[in-house]
């Protein structure tokens, strides 16, 4: 009897960057030379295939070798490791323990609950048959065959699914608005314009399992009653675009898209529209303007896109993750979905966990999980076991949550109650080495540069907020700056036209609320407690600790450090450019910065 051998190589953007393509080729070569056939019906058959993002990109290239259902995951697979894996494991049947994924991987992987990402690391995203094999397109078929549009909407309403793009609007209700509109044409848009820095949830779904999004769109289109759909996706996601286009082509060939879907006389097709890199185009009215060929600028609501959207027609916009969830809800039942999460936030949420955390990557957890479990459980705690300071959720428009609130639950309401947002799922962990004023400044730099310029509070207000923050970090802060900062931040939130301006000051307000002492230290004491703000730092060499090894003097790029061998060195503050080189190089902790 032949053994069932399967090897899957992670080929998301992270995997490819780590050399997955070469690893995959090396596997083919090694398998061939070991006499293992990668074709069907061979005696020694091995199914070698690519899979989408597995989430733990820091340990790429990740490879799963599965023999008769027993799976071993290898991490950080490099070309020179492939031969041993093939010879010892695939041929010899003995897993190579030293290359196998360790405790971090299992901590990271096993504590998650994968729904949207459940097939991302399993199936070949470029093969529609692989998707069909795991039950793909059955949900759409079932909807078209057995449910009326209203039944479909009711199912989604029952599941309690809320929009995953950030605002958390109930998806079923949105669809109902769309279905009730009478118009000669309606549109469905899938928003894949993921613009938050450090966020790659939607990219990974489209790269890892594009068909699940297409299937979700077919279901949504049927429920709303539209024949035309768009996927608005960033041009900076070439792999996602390529796999999406391929998936659309395959779906059309199969008759899953087109004039007669599943032979049921239903018409629906999807166009791909590439975004040109404007953050604001994630806002739905700006996104619509962009698809129409206009400059991506938002407009006031009402009227909402469900009434007057793309080309003036009723338009429903759902995020990638939302649409992927739709497929699983139909496949596994609204009750199953509603059993996950909290009372008001159902299901799971995908987060991009980054920053000063041991295990960074893409995670999916049930709604309502405490932040602490994510950071210390899945994330494995803080890098170098330093002290946790805050976690920033919700992308550049989110807020910073301090240690005292680490037991906050991850759901829409709880996050809002502590001054942050769910957003699309960015999660940046900060430690004691991060200056909170500088963090607020960093996010404001992003949002003010991405403002479209249409409304005054966002265009000029965020700029002035950034300037105040910059002055504070440069030690030029004044006593009443915090009053001005807070008042202006609130006015910008209150008076801006779209979600960008209405949330851009969140990082300021939340850091002011929880880390006001750091602001005061910058303004009153002219000191950066975290030692980040250059202008406020002074580098000195501690006489008792300096051994006179001359390392600091040798690395100093401006020759600001002088001293004889084996004697204490000194820094000329007039010359010092605060580049931190001496601090980094000193082995005796003799350089002091404060």
């Amino acid at each position: 009897m032949s053994r069932q051998i399967s090897i899957s190589v992670c080929m998301g953007t992270g995997g490819l960057a780590a050399g997955a393509r070469e690893v995959m080729e090396m596997f083919s070569v090694e398998l061939a030379s070991a006499g293992v056939e990668t074709t069907l019906h061979a005696q020694k058959h091995c199914d070698l295939h690519r899979v989408g993002c597995r989430g733990f990109c820091a340990r790429d290239v990740l490879v799963d070798v599965s023999i008769d259902g027993t799976k071993t995951t290898y991490e950080q697979v490099t070309l020179d490791r492939v031969a041993r894996i093939v010879n010892e494991h695939v041929v010899g049947g003995q897993p190579v323990e030293e290359f196998a994924a360790g405790v971090d991987y299992h901590n990271f992987e096993d504590k998650q609950l994968k729904v949207v990402l459940s097939e991302c690391g399993l199936i070949d995203p470029e093969d529609i048959e692989a998707y069909i094999k795991v039950g793909g397109y059955e949900a759409a078929k079932k909807v078209l065959a057995t449910l009326s549009p209203q039944d479909t909407i009711d199912t989604i309403k029952l599941s309690g699914l809320r929009g995953r793009g950030g605002a958390g609007f109930p998806t079923g209700l949105k669809w109902e608005f769309g279905s009730k509109e009478q118009a000669s044409q309606k549109y469905l848009i899938c928003n894949a314009d993921e613009g938050d820095p450090g966020a790659f949830m939607d990219r990974s779904v489209v790269e890892g399992n594009p068909h699940v999004v297409i299937e979700g769109m077919i279901i949504a289109a049927y429920a709303i009653g539209t024949t035309k759909g768009y996927v608005y996706i960033r041009a900076e996601y070439p792999l996602a675009v390529q796999r999406l286009e391929l998936a659309l082509k395959h779906a059309r060939q199969k008759g899953f898209l087109g004039d007669n879907i599943f032979g049921r006389g239903v018409k629906f097709d999807i166009k791909v529209k590439l975004g040109a890199g404007a953050f604001v185009c994630g806002e739905e009215t700006a996104l619509i303007a962009s698809i129409e060929g206009n400059r991506g600028m938002p407009r006031s609501k009402p009227p909402f896109p469900a009434q007057k959207g793309l080309f003036g027609k009723p338009t429903i916009i759902n995020n990638v993750e939302t649409l992927a969830n739709v497929t699983y809800i139909i496949r596994r039942g609204a009750e199953w979905f509603a059993s996950l999460g909290t009372e008001k936030s159902k299901g799971t949420k995908v987060f991009a966990l980054t920053g000063k955390i041991k295990n960074s990557g893409l995670i999916e957890v049930p709604m309502g999980i405490p932040l602490r479990k994510v950071i210390y459980g899945i994330g494995g705690g803080i890098e170098k076991d330093r002290r946790f300071k805050a976690v920033q959720t919700g992308g550049p428009s989110g807020g910073c949550i301090p240690e005292s609130l680490l037991d906050t639950h991850l759901d829409y309401e709880s996050l809002a109650s502590v001054g942050s947002i769910m957003g699309s799922g960015g999660m940046v962990v900060l430690d004691e080495g991060d200056c909170m004023v500088n963090i607020a400044k960093y996010f404001l730099e992003f949002t003010q540069a991405e403002s479209c310029g249409k409304c005054t509070p966002c265009r000029v207000g965020t700029k002035r907020l950034l300037e105040i923050l910059t002055r504070i970090t440069e030690g030029k802060g004044k006593a009443n700056d915090l009053v001005t900062l807070e008042a202006l931040a609130r006015d910008v939130i209150d008076s801006s036209l779209c979600g960008l301006g209405q949330t851009a000051p969140n990082p300021i307000l939340s850091t002011l609320k929880y880390f006001r002492d750091e602001y005061d230290a910058h303004i009153i004491d002219k000191r950066c407690p975290a030692g980040v703000c250059k202008a406020l730092l002074t580098y000195t060499i501690k006489e008792d600790a300096c051994t006179g090894c001359t390392m600091c003097a040798r690395v100093c790029p401006v020759k600001a450090i002088t001293g004889e061998k084996k004697k204490t060195h000194y820094i000329d503050h007039g010359l010092c450019i605060k580049c931190n080189s001496c601090y980094d190089v000193c082995k005796f902790n003799a350089v002091d910065k404060r």
């Binding site: 005054t456 002035r464 001005t484």
Partner: protein, 372 residues
Amino acid sequence: MTTAIAQDTITLTINGKTVTAASGKTILQVCRDSGIYVPTLCYDERLEAYGGCRLCLVEVKGQGRPLSSCTTPIREGMEVTTDSDRITRLRKTVLELLLSNHPNDCMLCEKAGACTLQELVYMYGVRYDNYYGEMWNLPKKDDNPFISYDPNKCVLCGRCVNICQNVVMKGTIDMTGRGFYSKPDTAFGKPLTPDICVFCGQCVSACPVGALTEKQARGKGRVGSVERVRTTCTYCGTGCNFYLNVNKGKIVKVTSDYAAPVNKGNLCVKGRFGYDFIQHPDRITKPLIRREGVTDTSPEVLKDPMAVFREAEWDEALDLVASKFMELKNKYGPDSVGGFSSSRCTNEENYLFAKWVRVALNTNNVDNCARV
């Protein structure tokens, strides 16, 4: 019919006062119709509401966030407040932010006295120095004979762009750049040349501040020193109305009349900038009759027109024309003469002219240059 009208009427309250208005109107329109003041910078009745300046924000009961009244349609039972403390504070902040990137240049500004920003800053008692930081220091664009653009004074209300894109349908300018550095400009900042711009000056008419001004009017008199004379354009039969701005008997510029029934404040290049002929020294202001015995009218001789022609009074000139027409008609028959009218005449003038040719000259030989 009466029920249909009743359905189309919406009752709402504004500042506690009950107001009835036709459905489909925005809060701002209803406020204006009811004499309730709401400040705006980006609103232009010729354009679709933009919602960008955020000065027209109002509170609507039940809505957590203030709404821009220019874009929000009225609903039955809506309770609107236009002047709460919160709204006033937000308006002041917006004005302060605008001022923080606006040159303190009213003394030299063409628009002083007619500038909406100046008026609002005065009305709300806003100071210059509440927010400070980077200010634009961009070169003034003065690359054409008609339109002068000082981007440093721009408040990004978008009216110039919207009128160029959606009324003139020319698309010469659009918003460029992002964030603090976005501004209306031509593609790649190219100069305004006839191949991209028709110089209708609609952008100038839409600008609420001194960013876009009439180049020819520079230094010739601001709103306080001019008298506005409403007149009808003489260039074509459309009959556009506008105001001639006259300073000490000299026409200095043309401004829009938003109430004009035909053009509603819109004008073309001729109406807006083609007024210099009116007081041109070469303009013929009296009828000229050719002097007796002069037969040579070659260009050489015409260099001194008064050697060929003499000035006459209207009665004499018209008598001469009438007698010549009668002479030709009697000698060669009515179809030997005809009339050719100008498209610069009004419709009424053209009608009268056609009538005169047909009735007085007894011929159908009548036409108009607009048909050629």
